[in-house]
């Protein structure tokens, strides 16, 4: 691959679009930017003008929404169902309570400790697909963070591939990766960082379709009450999950599926490898001590210690 790459800040992270034809890069980037802007306006919990803010203001009443937010919430609820609540979009109030109450870059150096609160539970969300409405109880805050970013990667890759056909494209949003269109002969080379040394590549794999996501307990950490917390909370308690794994990378047929599985695996902890085997998803898990576990054909590789 001799790729052409564009990178910029979006959705609170780094967006990257990669194509194999230089001439296709501007059109691919334009398509990706358009999708990311639409997702941000629909789903961001940091924007007062976001469509999701109107759903919260509905305080239990059905609120008409556009097709994109409807899809994002349906995808988030499907992830919750598939993960049996380990990935729960009603975690929003718990995330705020834990101190992640503004854009990550704007968080203060420390904040007073407050008791953690559990998620309200994804079954409290009511979606009427035919009517195009969403209702959440008063006080419940949706945090679509994980699944919406993965959905954005999937949609942006698809949109870009449509825009630059017959060329293929890779889109990465902070490491949530989706590919669409024709794949280079050697596949798309994607580095996997294990979280031990920030963003240092431990191994590189060739991605030939779908998506790849890595969830990490070493990224997006902040201080609270003098101690450090990370952003992956257990919906049952609202507290950061114990660090059994520092990263989990999953390859799946879409970035949404990969992200759902990688996040659920972090929350599951010790039982994650068994669950990933049962779900038949190739994954690479890096334990807190650096040992690497592979599932479904994804074996450990050199340099992961």
């Amino acid at each position: 691959v001799s790729p052409a790459v564009a990178a910029w800040r979006a959705l609170g992270t780094t967006a990257q679009v990669v194509v194999t034809d230089d001439a296709a890069l501007p059109a691919a980037r334009h398509a990706v930017e358009r999708e990311l802007a639409a997702i941000d306006l629909a789903c961001s919990r940091f924007r007062e003008d976001a469509e999701i803010a109107r759903v919260h203001a509905g305080a239990g009443a059905p609120v008409p929404v556009g097709p994109l937010l409807l899809q994002a919430v349906e995808v988030a609820l499907d992830a919750a169902r598939r993960s049996e609540g380990r990935v729960d979009p009603t975690i929003g109030a718990a995330v705020i309570r834990a101190g992640y109450d503004r854009d990550f870059a704007a968080l203060p150096p420390d904040a007073p400790a407050r008791a953690f609160v559990p998620a309200a539970g994804w079954r409290t969300v009511r979606v009427d697909h035919a009517a195009g409405t969403i209702a959440v109880p008063a006080g419940v805050r949706l945090d679509l963070g994980a699944t919406a970013k993965a959905l954005a990667a999937d949609r942006a890759a698809a949109a870009a591939a449509l825009a630059i056909a017959p060329h293929g494209v890779l889109v990465s949003l902070g490491g949530d990766v989706a590919v669409a269109g024709p794949v280079p002969d050697e596949g798309w080379p994607v580095g996997i960082a294990d979280g031990h040394r920030d963003r240092e590549v431990a191994t590189t794999v060739a991605l030939r379709g779908g998506g790849l996501a890595t969830s990490s307990t070493t990224q997006r950490r902040w201080r609270r009450g003098g101690g450090e917390v990370h952003h992956i909370l257990d919906p049952r308690t609202g507290a950061p999950v114990p660090v059994i794994w520092r990263t989990v990378s999953v390859a799946a047929s879409s970035c949404v599926e990969a992200n759902t599985a990688s996040t659920a695996a972090i929350v599951l902890g010790a039982t994650a490898p068994a669950w990933l085997w049962r779900t038949r998803l190739p994954a690479r898990l890096v334990r807190h001590d650096g040992a690497v576990v592979g599932t479904c054909g994804w074996a450990p590789v050199a340099g992961a210690a």
Binding site: Q16, D78, S216, E257, A270, P282, C296, A299
Partner: protein
């Protein structure tokens, strides 16, 4: 703003709707909702059964053991646990090309 105005705003023009439909088809999200869910939920059901029968919840299936190592070296593309190619991809093979992006957690 009335609910009717919200509905009007939510109603996308035909061209945008067609584009959205094309993106959904290509990104395969709709297929996943139908296909992937059963496999993941079945995985949890198995975990629960293991727990209730006193099985070892962290163990991998005997026929396809997970391995723990920090020093292994070779290609990973050989095995593929699934026969369902519509929802489960092959494990990505190790490559020695320079990565174009890095997936390191977010």
């Amino acid at each position: 703003m009335t609910s009717h105005q919200h509905l009007d705003r939510a109603r996308a023009p035909a061209a945008a709707t067609a584009r959205d439909a094309a993106i959904r088809r290509m990104s395969r999200i709709n297929r996943l909702v139908a296909g992937g869910a059963a496999v993941m939920v079945a995985g949890f059901a198995t975990l629960a059964a293991q727990a209730s029968s006193g099985g070892t919840s962290t163990a991998s299936p005997a026929t396809t053991p997970a391995t723990v190592s920090a020093t292994s070296s070779s290609d990973t593309s050989a095995s593929q646990a699934s026969s369902d190619q519509t929802t489960v991809p092959a494990a990505p093979a190790v490559t020695y090309q320079a990565p174009v992006v890095t997936s390191g957690g977010s």
